[in-house]
């Protein structure tokens, strides 16, 4: 490889890394296990290190028939859920999906899940960016 090609490759790499660094990231991702084929909740924290907003628009996994973004609301003593179509991450912001608030609702397991297992979900953003995030499957009693 000649030096011009090397330089181009390095530039491209740096560029790609820059994109990767500025893209949304996930931490503390877990799923609360429940028996049978009951719908499950997934929790995580989404970080946006970028100077511009990113919007989560969908979550997919071949392990589940359907995944929705939900938010629990407790209004005047009644618990309800609300579907969330899009969730914007502000620049340098973060959003916590945690028990009693935002959560992923996972419907229809394609296969049995074990506690202690890790499963991967694909988070899709409005600009086409896709993020693979590992979720730990924790017991029903996890807090």
């Amino acid at each position: 490889m000649n030096s011009a090609a090397k330089r181009l490759l390095l530039t491209l790499l740096a560029c790609w890394q820059g994109v990767a660094l500025a893209a949304p990231q996930v931490s503390d991702a877990w799923i609360r296990w429940l028996p049978g084929d009951l719908p499950l909740a997934g929790y995580l924290t989404l970080h946006n290190p970028d100077a511009r907003p990113h919007t989560l628009v969908a979550v997919h996994s071949p392990l589940f028939r359907r995944i929705e973004i939900h938010r629990s609301l407790a209004q005047s003593g009644v618990a309800r859920m609300q579907a969330v179509a899009r969730l914007e991450l502000r620049p340098q912001g973060q959003v916590s999906f945690s028990p009693g608030g935002y959560h992923l609702m996972l419907f229809g397991r394609a296969q049995a899940l074990r506690q202690g297992q890790t499963v991967e979900l694909l988070l899709q953003f409005d600009d086409g960016y896709q993020l693979r995030a590992p979720f730990a499957v924790r017991p029903a009693t996890a807090r």
Partner: protein, 202 residues
């Protein structure tokens, strides 16, 4: 069609009058709600009545198993707190009453209760039985519209009702109450004793 469920205002009303001295710091419902009375069935399809729990502190919560967030979060919290009581945990029963008997068959209830440990008993009943219990504690619930998969949401009270070993309604807790207050509330009722009597229905 969506059956609109209007929220229970009890929690708010009780919160407003919650300044009366109560060692437990949870809402004192002793004068407001009647003693524990119900006829339901458990995960073995056995009939269970309130009097079966005489001598126990009963922690009563309404929900449904297809609820992925609030219900398991509440049960995980309650089961975790009761586990911290050590040997005294055997004198506490957490009753999870499913208001969704169509999906929550005894087999589903059994597996669900098991996932939360030995102090959780999952119960359900006929619409009449559930309605009677819900009315008794002024709890509302309702079924939302089914989606393409036949899944539907059930709105339900998020309150936790706590009864003393005599079956008297004593405390009301919500997600906003701290673990320490909840634990102190349960411990206070355990310490007060009164196991020799039962005030609920037989």
């Amino acid at each position: 069609m969506k059956r609109v469920v209007w929220p229970l205002v009890l929690a708010l009303v009780l919160a407003a009058c919650g300044d009366a001295p109560s060692p437990a710091r949870l809402r004192d419902i002793g004068a407001l709600l009647p003693p524990l009375t119900f006829t339901l069935h458990d995960g073995e399809a056995r009939t269970r009545r309130a009097a079966d729990f005489a001598g126990q502190v009963v922690v009563l919560y309404f929900g449904y198993t297809h609820c992925p967030d609030i219900c398991p979060t509440t049960l995980a919290r309650l089961a975790g707190l009761v586990r911290r009581l050590g040997a005294a945990a055997a004198r506490v029963s957490i009753l999870f009453v499913s208001v969704d008997p169509a999906r929550d068959t005894p087999a589903v209830l059994h597996a669900y209760a098991e996932a939360f440990g030995p102090r959780v008993v999952a119960l359900s009943g006929s619409q009449e039985q559930l309605g009677a219990l819900a009315r008794r504690y002024r709890v509302s619930y309702g079924l939302g519209p089914a989606d393409g998969d036949g899944q539907y949401e059930v709105s339900h009270s998020s309150a936790v009702f706590i009864f003393d070993p005599r079956g008297r309604a004593r405390l009301l807790a919500t997600a906003e109450d701290s673990d320490a207050d909840l634990l102190a509330g349960i411990q206070g009722l355990l310490a007060a004793g009164g196991n020799e009597r039962w005030d609920g229905a037989r």
